[in-house]
Amino acid sequence: MAAGSTYTPIATTTLGSAQATVTFSSISGSYTDLVLIIGGKNASSDQGIVTQVGNGSIDTGSNYSTTYLIGDGTNATSGRASSATSIIAGRMDNVASTSIINYMNYSNTTTYKTVLGRGNDGALVIQHVGLWRNTAAINTINVFNLSSVNFAAGTVLTLYGIAAA
């Protein structure tokens, strides 16, 4: 039985000032999954956090899609975004928010890539599953708020790698 410690921190960005987009680049392919944890707030209220990925450069084409499930304290609903330019993967408001985004099997070159994300803020809890229709390994990740809302200073984004035996 092989066993080895993993869930390794790869990079952490703590914003010193408001910033629209955070990029993680040159990500090693030596892990199986990536987990991005975002804690902080934005300059507006209740925005979706979206992600774009790529190999060498970010894919800004309409090659992404998302299915999501929302609870707002009153109702549970579901929605979808197809042939979009990013995956909706988290949630953030201007008070306090957390999101965890899993980039599953990100470095294989045989399958389209699926992202599983969950976000919580003062208004909503949301779970997302998103697809990047490309078999390339992911080594670059962008995250930003919808509607061009900045991440606030003090927001922390930490990227972890999980390596399977």
């Binding site: 987990v35 804690g39 399958t111 389209y112 699926t114 969950r118 599953v129």
Partner: protein
């Protein structure tokens, strides 16, 4: 790793522990279609986490459920709850006295082209004083179709879990499906 981060991880499908407490145990990547995947050697941890990507080998545009059986128990000793979204509405369900744990609608058939994903936590799996609980986050998106949801299941047995079998609700797992088992230590 701060206690705040640990709390977030533990509550949001990324359960992890203190430094060096999250360990890779075993991984199965399918080189050909296969009806089930089993893990039989994972003693010594407090919790287990299974992370998987899955596709059905069935040619079609439908979706299969992921079934989970422990300790080769095929009796009606399990129960399930789920809440999932299909892109237009949310669906909640519960079923008692069934013959497996379940993560619904997470395995796409081949026409969908994508792979479904799931993160499953089997909590306190060695404890012999209580029934065992599984919770999962999972889904699959196929650009215009798909599902995403939250799932939990109960095994009504106090025995320690010593084996885990994963199987699709029908047909086989397709080539490239991957199942990675991790252990989380306590103190």
């Amino acid at each position: 790793m701060s206690s705040m981060i640990l709390g977030i991880l533990a509550s949001s499908g990324g359960a992890a522990g203190a430094a060096n407490s999250y360990e890779s145990i075993a991984t199965t990547t399918l080189g050909s279609a296969q009806s089930s995947v089993s893990f039989n050697s994972f003693a010594g941890y407090t919790h287990l986490q299974l992370r998987a990507i899955m596709q059905s080998s069935v040619a079609g545009a439908g979706y299969k459920d992921l079934f989970i059986r422990v300790n080769s128990d095929t009796g009606s000793n399990y129960a399930r709850h789920g809440l999932y979204g299909n892109g237009s509405s949310a669906v909640a369900y519960a079923t008692a006295s069934i013959a497996r744990m379940e993560v619904a609608l997470t395995i796409p058939e081949t026409t969908n082209n994508g792979f479904g994903v799931v993160v499953i936590d089997l909590l306190d799996y060695l404890n012999t004083n209580k029934y065992k609980t599984m919770r999962a986050l999972g889904g699959t998106d196929n650009n215009g179709a798909g599902y995403v949801g939250l799932f939990s299941s109960l095994w009504q047995n106090t025995n320690a879990i010593t084996s885990i079998e994963l199987l699709p609700s029908s047909g086989n797992f397709n080539t490239y499906s991957q199942f990675a088992l991790y252990g989380i230590k306590g103190v």
